[in-house]
């Protein structure tokens, strides 16, 4: 059974309320995880029902004007199949391009690399984390909310396993040390709306996380 987003957060996403950085994480999660995709579809169905329920509003425009525009509008082409060795989920592709390798990877500590992703939203930090097989991330808690979506590989955290497409939500109630799978390691997307707070002996290593 996969780890999917909390219902309330999925509602935030489906209704359109969710901030862009968290929406990126959610979109990636939904693109990779069919259970999450189904949850999301149900919330779209609910939106459709709300739309059906609306009382009609008076229209100012002329139907004829719209009809006249239609001739010039070409049908949208079918989405092109994307050729790439490692399949980057569609929502991420718009932000990072065709390859994970092209990003600016920095080593944060032994077996841990990070590449930040620019979203233009200064209140959130977004990036990718590459963790070598069997390596832990430094023990930490969160001042705000942290979303983690597994893109490749897997990690274990507090008895739970997170695999490709899974999403983990963590906040100040969770103090944890995720551990990358000993065979595959892990590549994850993370989104933060506030700094992490390192609580373990490795906290000095991971200072860069703290500068937000």
């Amino acid at each position: 059974m996969s780890q999917t987003a909390d219902t309330a957060w999925m509602l935030d996403y489906a209704s359109g309320a969710l901030s862009e950085p968290f929406a990126l994480a959610m979109a990636t999660h939904v693109a990779l995880n069919s259970e999450a995709a189904q949850q999301y579809e149900k919330l779209n169905v609910l939106g459709g029902a709300l739309l059906d329920d609306m009382e009609e509003e008076y229209l100012d425009g002329e139907l004829n004007d719209i009809l006249n525009r239609l001739d010039d509008i070409e049908p949208a082409p079918a989405p092109a199949a994307v050729q790439s060795e490692i399949n980057i989920p569609a929502p991420l592709r718009a932000y990072i391009g065709a390859s994970y390798d092209d990003l600016n990877w920095r080593t944060l500590g032994p077996g841990i690399k990070q590449a930040l992703i620019e979203t233009g939203v200064s209140t959130h930090k977004v990036g990718l984390l590459k963790i070598a097989p069997g390596r832990p991330v430094g023990q930490h808690t969160h001042k705000g909310t942290e979303f983690t979506v597994v893109l490749e590989g897997a990690y274990d955290d507090g008895g739970m396993r997170f695999e490709k497409g899974d999403l983990q939500l963590a906040d100040s109630s969770l103090d944890h040390q995720p551990l990358a799978d000993k065979d595959s390691g892990c590549l994850c997307l993370f989104v933060l709306d506030a700094p992490l707070k390192f609580t373990g002996p490795l906290s000095k290593w991971l200072n860069p996380f703290i500068t937000f």
Partner: protein, 210 residues
Amino acid sequence: MAIASNMVSVQPEAYNPAIASKGSWMGDMTLTMEDAARLVAEIAAKRDKQAFAALYRHFAPKLKAFALKQGLSAGVAEEIAQETMIQLWRKAPTFDVRKASVSTWLFTILRNKRIDYLRREARPDLDHDEWRLQTEAPEQPDSIAERGEDRLRVADMLKALPDEQKQVLHLAYFKELTHAEIAEELDLPLGTVKSRIRLALGRMRMLVKE
């Protein structure tokens, strides 16, 4: 029903939304789910403008009402409603009628257009791509098929919800408040809001085919 190619303006003589019954002011029959799907198929097959006109008369007023309820100005709401219908025209050939109803699809287009509009307002310099973070139904590869009887039950379920659950859904869809913001707005603990959301959606989960 023959639709004259020389369309009359959508401006009736003395229209009062409070009085007019649903659908009647446009001289429109109410579209069933199946009717709507058939009309989209006609657009897909032959770019049928009359089919589009029928869909427009049914849905554009509701799309505008939805956008207005979300707090957009009348001009912007109407523009977004138009652009949503134009998107339907563009995407009709690739829409899978078995996977989602036209209403669900239009809701997702409208939602994406509105997000795009708001983001563009806030940061006009950014290159926005409206499909980027929210797909349109039914683009999920493993979509469950939306069944007619499920949709009717969703509508009934909505009406039957206790007020406090109806309220959180309305704040989510019409005020675009996140669940955390809803908790603040209603001055309630986060846990209470989350449980109301779960209860409201829990009923729907039982109704929609897994």
